[in-house]
Amino acid sequence: MSPITLDITIHLAKIALIFFVVLTLAAYLVFAERRLLAWIQDRKGPNRVGPFGLLQPLADLIKLLTKEDFRPPQADKWLFYLAPAMAAIPAILTFAVIPFGAPVTLFGREVPLQVADLNVGLLFFMALSSIAVYGVALGGWASNSKYALLGAIRGLAQLISYELSMGLSLVPTVMLAGSLRLSDIVAAQASVPFIVYQPLAFAIFLVSIAAECKRIPFDIPEAEGELVAGFHTEYSGMRFGLFFVGEYINIIVLGGLATTFFLGGWHGPLLPPFVWFAAKTLAFAFFFIWMRGTLPRLRYDQLMHLGWKFLTPLALLNILATGWWLMIREPH
């Protein structure tokens, strides 16, 4: 094999691996969420299909695939069909820039466990996370239903209020690492993860990503208590499934990003790097599920209040403090 073919093969293999692992993980995250929520509520959760209910995701998939794919007659056809993909694809695309393990040596060459080591990896993530909200907005708009539209508007408003604090909370990371490249950010945390220097930025980022993946307490675009199912009220079958899976891919991806930015990525003692990365990412997933079992939904204006009047100024102050600290530590 010529080096070029080998390169392409390795890349394709990595992409296939990511697709397989992330999609399977997303399906099992749904299952884990149902089980965990059940335990929190003193129930048992789905335990019928297969041993311990482990085949439940498969049963769900079959159900979703065989359900009728209904489109409301007044809906905007193309946007309606496009929106679920626009919600799910950016989520999984973001995974391309996440380094999920230490570089390995394959066929005598160094292979980074990362699909694309972009030098603007962080910006790439920010851009994609903004695109993902188009799925919500267009899905709600195209459905031509009041609940879906309300959900979509809420989604947009939510985007504006948390995106800012999310971006600002990542600035200190970039200042510390001196690079937007995700592998550099991980490398800069080889000895001490950034959460030690930046607990505040980590907290802000955590709140922001909870809002980003529309989890309770920030699930106001969905808000099944008020808006039926928010932006995906009119969706059924696998299109609804795509929204659903997209949400869980988002949890995994954002957990992975939080790991990369603040918890030292795949760095960790004893265990292999890949295991460290997976463990940290799943810990975030667990935390989100746990939050869902605990907290009530915020009101619409409360999220705005939190984002604009609290998190954003705090993140700005944090940036100033970081700059000040960096200057004192290494005066130029």
């Binding site: 059940a38 335990w39 003193d42 129930r43 048992k44 939050m291």
Partner: protein, 176 residues
């Protein structure tokens, strides 16, 4: 500082749910595990008989009138010796909400609730129970009770012949 209060409340809440993860679930896994309901549990309705084996129901329509969802219907008829009965008696269990008001209204204790809750059907018409399906052979919850032995209308015993009755007053006589 309100933020500290908020964080404390958050931590308290998270701790509570954390503890519940390790509690034993209260779920009863129904088709595998069947709870035994209490004797007074209100489920499938039956029509009972009196100790002598006669139908208790006198087709008075009180249960039908008491039923909040109007799911009892019947047609009254009169048998030998003036004893009333229901020619047909029908309960639509697909509408019944198992409130038990019919059983409370019944003067003869004929209609009674039983704890048998497994009456689901795939065909909704099969939930309409006719009299043959409702009528059981026993006396149900009050084995002693016999309406006609207290009613004083002279079907089982002559008028005034029941143990807790006085003979009828002669309204045309002068004596008290």
């Amino acid at each position: 500082m309100p933020i500290l209060n908020d964080l404390k409340a958050l931590a308290t809440g998270l701790f509570v749910t954390w503890k519940h993860i390790f509690r034993r679930p209260v779920t009863v896994e129904y088709p595998d595990v069947k709870r035994t309901p209490y004797p007074r549990y209100r489920a499938r309705i039956v029509l009972t008989r009196d100790p002598d084996g006669g139908e208790r129901c006198v087709a008075c329509y009180l249960c039908s009138a008491a039923c909040p969802v109007d799911c009892i219907s019947m047609e009254a008829a009169e048998g030998e010796g003036g004893r009333r009965y229901a020619r047909w008696f029908r309960i639509n269990f697909s509408r019944c909400i198992f409130c038990g008001l019919c059983a409370e209204a019944c003067p003869t204790l004929a209609i009674q609730m039983t704890p048998d809750y497994e009456i689901c059907e795939r065909e909704v018409m099969e939930l309409v129970y006719e009299k043959e399906e409702l009528l059981i052979d026993g006396c149900g919850k009050d084995p002693e009770y016999d309406f006609y032995r207290h009613a004083g209308i002279g079907v089982v015993n002559p008028r005034g012949g029941n143990p807790d009755e006085e003979p009828p007053v002669d309204v045309r006589g002068l004596m008290p």
